[in-house]
Amino acid sequence: MTLCFTRTIHSLPFKHPRFSLSNPSKRPISNFLPHSSSKSPPLLRPISPKPHLPLFLRPPASSATFSDLQKFHSWAKGLAFSVGSKFLDSDNGPDTDLLCREIKWLLEDAVDDTSMLPHLGSSQNPNLTGSKLIRLKVDLDDLYSLWNQRIEERRPFQYIVGCEHWRDFVLCVEEGVLIPRPETEMIVDMVEEVVSKEKGLGKGLWADLGTGSGAIGIGIGRILEEGGRVIATDVSEVAVSVATFNVQRYGLQDKVEIRQGSWFEPIEDVMGKLAGLVSNPPYIPRDQIPRLQAEVGKHEPRLALDGGENGMDELLHLCEGSSFALGSGGFFAFETNGDEQSELVADIMTSKSENSFRDVKIKTDMAGIHRFVTGFRR
């Protein structure tokens, strides 16, 4: 039954994975500095780069009766309850509680008038008869398919609704683009702090390398002062189109420029001039990829996760390039896999090319993991 369902839903307009998930060979090409790696650099040109409209931005072109929506709601909850702690136990995936919260969020995005949502669970409502038509942004059939994908395929909730809430933004995401993580929100906090303390940085040029959905670039673009700008880059064409869409949706075109290319390659013209350099590069050690939570390992782009044998390939490359990219006094912040990696990155940056950097610090995320390394170019 699952297989049959899967075939059907793949033909829905919602799901068009442009990258075959079983083909992780598309690696960033490192053009700036020689760095030894066994990466193959084929340039897969995906099809149309036009991003999909997230559910919440679609017009309410469909409708369903209140009682049909109630049926969907109890069916979806039934599926969520059938999961129990199965996913949690197998790969630290979502449990029933979280899935039930996701149903609420799914309906918030799918229903035009969300004021009726609290009444879905109750049997009697004086103001809502079962035959009342509820306007929807997606066909009810598709809503069933989407929730089925969530449970049966472990398709990430954010790809189901086509967006992720990150800081105070709602960013469009889709297959082929890493879903921005809550931890990464802190990079923007760090930049905000630095910009408020170090005069001039807020008016300077920043780069967010491997921007994915554009999250960090957009977050920084919003806090820079008059004259400050961000160049956000990604090697993936899907990421570039999604990031461009997100930048436009927040009207930040004058602040955030999206460029396609690998790491330092698209910013060669501004090397040595940057006021800041930030990145959340792929950092998961390759042998851990097969054991990742299904939502991540089976659905998110390997390009954005796989950091090579020990997860350090891209971080090392960033360390190498940053002394050339940053101007004097420039700030850097990199996200890492945690403890060992952040220590290694901090060591490299501290000892690098006759003390190119000062105030190199390791910063912890909300869960207490040594997640970030920051510092300044001398």
């Binding site: 630290n92 990150w166 998961i284 991540v296 909300m366």
Partner: protein, 228 residues
């Protein structure tokens, strides 16, 4: 000297607030518990003023946040790119008072942090009492602002009435609670001092659930009937 004495109600019992409204009530409060004097090490960095809950409430979000310990709920595993989980719950512990506020309902940690902070402001208003002197009492502006226009002591320069949905309501609510505590829960006495009829003040108290519960908790302790 950045230290002050605050009268704090139910110190340490705040986690109870989050389970359900039914659990809000302390079952056998004693006057001693109620009048517990809590010595507080106020933030010594910002100023030499002694801190009261009014001071906490007038802090900017940023400065109030500086007084808080922030925890996100236990996240298992390595996190970061490894995980797709909306564990965005935020828990703030306000260090000077020990009050805890949390928020889980939104998809974004950022927004949950803002909600938790807003909730903390309400809790500070509800739970941290400052003693006031009833001799020559004049209500502060923030209290006048939440009073209905018919109050005889409310000048026309105060502006329109601020309702419970306005973030500024918390500060006014705090001043009103300070007054009601000072008059030992008597709504009629408080009403006189505010230039209102007892009925009008009752209606104001009943307009906000948390304010009503707080006043009724006090009235129960004093052996008075709850407002309904």
């Amino acid at each position: 000297m950045a230290q002050s004495l605050l009268k704090s109600v139910f110190a340490g019992g705040y986690s109870k607030l989050f389970t359900s409204p039914a659990n809000r009530r302390i079952t056998s409060p004693t006057p001693h518990q109620f009048q517990l004097q809590l010595r507080i090490n106020a933030f010594s960095t910002s100023s030499n003023r002694s801190s009261s809950s009014r001071d906490f409430l007038s802090l900017s979000d940023e400065l109030l946040m500086d007084q808080c310990e922030m925890n996100t709920f236990k996240a298992s595993g390595p996190g970061g790119q490894h995980r797709n989980k909306r564990e965005t719950a935020v828990r703030l512990k306000h260090s000077p008072t020990g009050i805890i506020a949390q928020a889980v309902e939104d998809r974004s940690q950022h927004k949950n942090r803002a909600s938790a902070l807003a909730r903390l402001r309400t809790l500070l208003a509800l739970k941290v009492r400052d003693a006031i002197d009833l001799d020559g009492y004049t209500p502060p502006l923030e209290l006048l602002q939440i009073l209905p226009a018919k109050s005889t002591i409310r000048g026309s320069d105060v502006g329109s009435q601020i309702g419970p949905n306005n973030p500024k309501f918390a500060l006014g609510m705090k001043a009103l609670l300070d007054l009601i505590y000072a008059v030992n829960g008597s709504v009629s006495e408080a009403a006189k001092l505010l230039g209102l009829s007892t009925g009008a003040l009752s209606r104001l108290i009943l307009s906000d659930d948390s304010l009503r519960m707080e006043v009724n908790e006090l009235r129960a302790l004093k052996g008075m009937k709850p407002l309904k």
